[in-house]
């Protein structure tokens, strides 16, 4: 009985790790631009958090008016810059996606099998 259970466990494990190679779906590494966007977004949210922290400090009297204004403006500008980068990267990305769609449909016409594997944008 224990041997059977153990063998079953081994079979399940092998099936689970082999699945990505056998299944019909393709996997790709997450695209660089997607990661960049996620990072930018997280960075922006961190800046927002800093701004609200500064506001709290200012309310408590930890910061002088001038310091508060200066720091807050700096952070706002950094956030806006990141927002700009975010939307720039989206524009570039969607253009690339269009190219990719064309490429894929071209390939589909050529072969019956969909090309497996990654494409690392």
């Amino acid at each position: 009985m224990p041997i059977v259970l153990g063998t079953l466990l081994a079979i399940i494990s092998i099936a689970v790790i082999a699945y990505p190679f056998l299944g019909s779906q393709r996997y790709r590494l997450v695209s660089e631009s997607f990661v960049t966007r996620e990072k930018l977004r997280a960075e922006r949210l961190r800046i927002y958090r800093k701004i609200s922290d500064i506001e709290a400090d200012y309310e408590l009297g930890d910061l002088t008016e001038a310091d508060y204004q200066q720091q807050r403006d700096q952070l706002r500008i950094s956030a806006a810059e990141i927002l700009k980068q975010e939307s720039d990267s989206i524009t570039i990305d969607s253009r690339r996606d269009e190219d990719l769609e064309k490429e894929i449909s071209r390939l589909r016409e050529q072969t019956t099998h969909s090309p497996r594997g990654r494409d690392n944008l």
Binding site: L9, S13, V16, I17, E32, F34, K39, S94, R118
Partner: protein
């Protein structure tokens, strides 16, 4: 079940090896399927360890004595409720438990990792897999909990009697879990560094996972202290034993880390420093594992010496080399965004606090290693124990409490005179008043009085900040409770930290009280006799037998009276002349002002198979002081030998626990995002999801 457990561990060994190799190769060659498969393999190790653990627990429940580990840690007499304790009571089982924890938290960490870390995840997976591989290897080939005995014994050896206590259900698992949990932030940060991600992308994951591990480790240590105080029956709670020290050291370094990570979060500074701290914490956790497993120092806690020592030493040295080689390789990229602007800034105070934590760590490490050093250098054995650590670490710990008051009062960047004066005035006044009052009351021990002043200073600084923040919101129209809660919610890391600081202050009160003002006396009482100490009279009123096949045990009941010293002036004079702190009364006549305040029960058992005594102390606990009665022995003439102590403020040690846990939870609870909606939703929508 032994076969199943063994197969599961072997399978886990293969899976984790595959996961490590697959993640690295997949990343280098850009093969996404391989990375996905490696990640899945790491999920599967969780399943195999769980199966192995269930198999072992099942064997315990069945009392399957053909398995050596079960036979050594269980017997037919053992209460089945203690199966969970027996599971990790020995070397092999505790390693299995550690691996179980590691695999579960690894799986959770990978599952919840934010997408922006996608580039470094293969490396993180590989590091986690290698750590698991190590434990799988040890459990499969060196210290298997599923080893079979050639001849099945009639009965098992039974569980160590010191472990049959409710505290044992949580203290060892929390401690081991907290130590191994440091692997998670380490894997995230190392992964990010290898992948070449130098920014702050990893900061939130590292912070949250580090605080969780840190909180668990801290709670584990506190529970251990509580267990020692209530069960071990030696009247103390922290002995600076090597095993306690090796749990404390990584905790101290992680404490430094979770403070200085805030500087990186807020000001973009200390990146290099934070990575170094995390590496140090990880390596110290490995040192803890090593010393725990047949390391070279003596301790009450250590598992029986085994060949494992060398293996764990090798793994520790390997992690040391890896962590710091990686650090040196990536150091040039870990620049600070900004520079320090003033000594009187929160950044600087965090740096000083970091230095103090590291100093306690380094001094403790030195104390742990000195006997070894002395042995090697000149072949002379020495002991380094509590009196040494109290002396060398006490002052630095007090310094940390001082910084705990000063640091949060200093604003970021630099302090302006106005804000400083405004902030420091009340804490300083209250601190000075506390010291003055204590001196006026004739309290002894200047160091302790100073320490009380420091505690008052820090407490006031926290309350003051809460008061101001709450008052501002109160005037804006909230009621007090809501106003306070909003304040805490507005910046959870900070205010959660304050709650933890309060728990540390409570701990501090207990430590000062018990270390400086403890009163003790010993005595032997026959039934009906009393022992008098300070304002207490303890009368021995009843006893009984509670032996079982495996132990000789007796309980004793005492009544506690509060007394008026005037009633006993003669005896007190006499005992003072003899140099005693207390005295025994042969008659048990109640004097006019005696007042019955409590009944306490103590218990003393001797376990034949283990040749080991275990006691339950009788404790009457109040916030002011504990009356603590240890039954040392039942003497052959029918008397009971007692050690009685009065431990001032000991209650606060344990009261700090809930605050510690609540504060930690508040600090890591997900922050409310300031952002309301994903910016430019209409444009983001088109490209989300990478297909």
């Amino acid at each position: 079940m032994a076969e199943l457990g063994f197969m599961a561990l072997l399978l886990g060994f293969a899976l984790s090896a595959y996961s490590a190799v697959g993640a690295i190769v997949g990343e280098r060659k850009g093969k996404a399927e391989l990375v996905v498969s490696a990640r899945r393999a790491l999920y599967m190790t969780t399943l195999t360890v769980t199966v192995a653990s269930v198999a072992l627990i099942y064997a315990f429940v069945q009392n399957d004595l053909s398995i050596a580990y079960v036979a050594n840690h269980s017997n037919t007499l053992m209460d089945r409720a203690f199966v969970w304790v027996a599971f990790y009571a020995g070397n092999e089982g505790s390693l299995l438990y550690i691996l179980l924890t590691l695999s579960i938290i690894s799986a959770l960490a990978i599952w919840f990792a934010p997408k922006r870390l996608a580039r470094s995840m293969p490396w993180t997976i590989a590091i986690l897999a290698i750590n698991q591989l190590f434990y799988f290897g040890v459990l499969t080939f060196v210290a298997s909990p599923f080893e079979l005995l050639d001849t099945v014994p009639v009965d098992g050896r039974g569980i160590n009697p010191l472990l049959t206590h409710p505290g044992m259900f949580s203290h060892p698992p929390l401690l081991m879990g907290g130590l191994i949990a440091i692997t998670i932030p380490f894997a995230f940060v190392s992964g990010a560094l290898i992948a070449g991600s130098y920014g702050d992308d990893w900061i939130d994951v590292a912070r949250v996972s580090a605080i969780l591990g840190w909180g668990v480790l801290g709670a584990g240590m506190l529970l251990g202290a509580w267990w020692a105080y209530t069960i071990l029956g030696w009247g103390g709670y922290w002995a600076w034993d090597p095993i306690e020290n090796v749990a404390l050291m990584p905790w101290l370094v992680m404490t430094a880390f979770i403070h200085s990570i805030m500087v990186q979060k807020r000001r973009g500074m200390f990146r290099m420093w934070n990575v170094a701290l995390l590496n140090t914490g990880f390596v110290l956790a490995q040192l803890g594992m090593f010393i725990n497993r047949g390391g070279p120092v003596v301790s009450v806690h250590s598992f029986a010496a085994s060949a494992l020592g060398v293996i764990f030493l090798t793994f520790m040295l390997a992690s040391l080399v890896f962590a710091f080689a990686l650090f040196l390789w990536r150091m040039p990229q870990l620049k600070s965004d900004r520079a320090m602007e003033s000594f009187m800034s929160r950044e600087a105070s965090f740096l000083v606090n970091n230095f103090l934590f590291l100093a306690v760590m380094a001094v403790t490490l030195w104390g742990v290693l000195f006997p070894l050093f002395s042995d090697l250098a000149r072949d002379v054995s020495v002991s380094v124990s509590a009196p040494y650590f109290d002396r060398v670490n006490g002052p630095v710990l007090l310094g940390i409490v001082v910084m705990m008051g000063i640091g949060p009062l200093l604003p970021w960047r630099k302090a302006s005179a106005r804000s400083l004066k405004q902030w420091f005035i009340w804490p300083t006044v209250i601190g000075v008043i506390t010291i003055t009052v204590l001196v006026a009351l004739g309290v002894q021990r200047p160091v302790a009085i100073f320490a009380f002043g420091v505690v008052a200073f820090v407490a006031t600084s926290i309350l003051e900040e809460w008061w101001r923040g709450t008052a501002a919101r109160y005037h804006a129209g909230d009621n007090w409770a809501i106003a306070w809660w909003r304040l805490v919610n507005g910046n959870r890391p900070r205010h959660g930290g304050y709650i933890v600081h309060i728990s540390i202050l409570m701990l501090g009160l207990g430590i000062i009280g018990t270390n400086f003002y403890q009163q003790r006396t010993d005595g032997a009482l026959a039934l009906g006799e009393s022992l008098v100490i300070d304002n207490y009279r303890i009368e021995y009123v009843a006893n009984g037998d509670s032996s079982r096949p495996d132990r000789i045990a007796k309980w004793a009941e005492m009544t506690v009276y509060s007394i008026d010293p005037d009633d006993y002036s003669q005896e007190i004079q006499l005992s003072n002349a003899q140099g005693s702190s207390g005295f025994t009364l042969r008659d048990s006549q109640t004097r006019p002002n005696d007042e019955l305040i409590d009944r306490i029960e103590t218990w003393h058992g001797f376990y034949l198979d283990f040749n080991m005594a275990s006691v339950r102390s009788g404790i009457r606990s109040t916030p002011v002081e504990d009356l603590y009665v240890i039954p040392r022995d039942f003497l052959s003439d029918g008397r009971i030998s007692l050690a009685v102590s009065i431990n001032p403020l000991a209650w606060w040690l344990w009261a700090s626990g809930p605050f510690f846990i609540i504060g930690t939870m508040v600090a890591v609870w997900p922050q409310v995002a300031v952002e309301r909606k994903p910016a430019r939703k209409e444009r983001l929508g088109s490209s989300e999801g990478e297909s």
